[in-house]
């Protein structure tokens, strides 16, 4: 059974096409980089795969089930339980403390407040930001915010992490630390990662790279190259 799959996905914003028929397989446990120049549709592809956006045409299947036809509520639940999402910035609720932000997905799933806080603190500790557990996002550095966001994405022990330029707002060293931790944790837990980036240096953290160009998979360059042996584990 396929793990996560896009089949001929088409999506436009108004009259501007963003994806023009993308077919892509994501294998369980792999770290996949989606690269390409800005405007190539890589973020849109990530949003379609994560069930945030519905494709205009084509299918997205998750463990053999089409999720693009699911209701918003069902896809929300999927994103909350099976998927974790990591953006460049902005996914933390500004008014909540770090620990509350991390606990939020658990609270939404019905976990009690105390248990959720304990789990949240454990993850913050694991990512080395336990000292800012009671700080608001505005009081943290970019790197701390992103680790907090990563804790939040990982707290539900998701099967897939979708990361959209997760280091875009960070300096080199902070970005590297965040990515190293993400990759290490993903390998430990056999979590799949779909990593969207335009930087070759960031894409090198992945096992495999798919590049997009003008809304299509770029087969001419580095396209689908599962044969590339570099990242085999």
């Amino acid at each position: 059974m396929t793990f996560l799959q896009a089949r001929g996905v088409v999506r436009a914003y108004g009259h501007t096409p963003a994806l023009r028929g993308v077919t892509l397989d994501v294998a369980e446990g792999e770290i996949l980089a989606v690269t390409g120049p800005s405007g190539c549709g890589k973020s849109t592809l990530l949003h379609c795969l994560a069930g945030i956006l519905r494709p205009d045409a084509g299918q997205v299947t998750w463990r053999g089930e089409r999720i693009d036809t699911w209701s918003e509520a069902a896809r929300s639940r999927l994103r909350r339980t099976e998927f974790g999402v990591l953006f460049q910035f902005g996914q933390l609720v500004a008014e909540l403390t770090a620990a509350e932000n991390v606990a939020l997905p658990l609270l939404l799933a019905g976990t009690g407040r105390r248990a959720a806080r304990t789990a949240a603190l454990a993850w913050l500790d694991r990512l080395g930001v336990a000292d800012v557990a009671d700080a608001r996002p505005g009081e943290m550095s970019g790197g701390q915010q992103q680790r907090c966001a990563m804790s939040r994405a990982l707290v539900t022990e998701p099967r897939v992490i979708f990361a959209d330029e997760p280091t875009g707002a960070l300096d080199t060293l902070a970005g590297e630390q965040v990515l190293t931790q993400l990759v290490r944790l993903a390998r430990e837990q056999r979590t799949t990662v779909v990593l969207v980036t335009h930087e070759p240096r960031i894409a090198a953290y992945a096992d495999r790279e798919v590049s997009l160009r003008d809304g299509m998979v770029d087969h001419t360059g580095l396209g689908l190259d599962p044969a590339l042996p570099g990242g085999s584990r």
């Binding site: 190293t180 070759p200 240096r201 090198a204 992945a206 790279e209 360059g221 570099g230």
Partner: protein, 178 residues
């Protein structure tokens, strides 16, 4: 790269003989090309001739002659001078990769130049991925990480250049055709 200055630097910690110097060099500069014994002895001889190092005693426990060398005051001054001199930032473009791409565009058609670029990009990407894996491996030592960082930064620059060149070649090709 100036091997003699690196050896002077390694001797600053105390007298060593040739074999120790080679080992220290390979350990301290893990990503550099390993030093050959012959090169070590030839360099030491030259440094001795110039008065920058001096023999500091001999060991002879059954094996071959093992002369330890120590830094002289002149040597120390030469090392300080070297460290105090700013490296000229890339005075010439000396890269086989660059030369090859230029030649490919000269002698071959655009398609072949493109293939050459794509193959090169693939190789660069693979190397980048290897180095990243090495760096992020648990228990990676600091000097290993620094060495990998250095290589990654250069490969990254090469890759960006390859990307841009590919786009330029494509544009150029389109212009020539139309």
């Amino acid at each position: 790269m100036s091997t003699s200055h690196v050896l002077l630097g390694l001797l600053a910690a105390g007298p060593r003989h040739g074999y120790e110097l080679k080992r220290a060099h390979d350990e301290r500069l893990p990503r550099a090309r390993p030093l050959a014994f012959g090169q070590v002895y030839a360099t030491l001889a030259r440094l001795h001739r110039d008065g920058l190092v001096a023999p500091a005693g001999q060991e002879r426990d059954g094996g071959p002659d093992r002369t330890a060398y120590a830094l002289t005051d002149d040597g120390r001054a030469a090392l300080d001078h070297w460290l105090g001199t700013v490296e000229p930032p890339m005075p010439y473009v000396t890269s086989t990769l660059f030369a090859k791409v230029v030649v490919a565009l000269l002698v071959a058609d655009a398609g072949q130049a493109r293939d050459c670029l794509i193959a090169q990009r693939r190789a660069h990407t693979q190397r980048l991925r290897e180095l990243t894996a090495l760096k992020t491996a648990p228990g990676a030592r600091l000097d290993e990480v620094i060495a990998a960082d250095f290589a990654i930064a250069h490969l990254d620059a090469d890759l960006r250049w390859l990307h841009t060149t590919l786009d330029r070649v494509a544009d150029w090709h389109r212009e020539v055709r139309s």
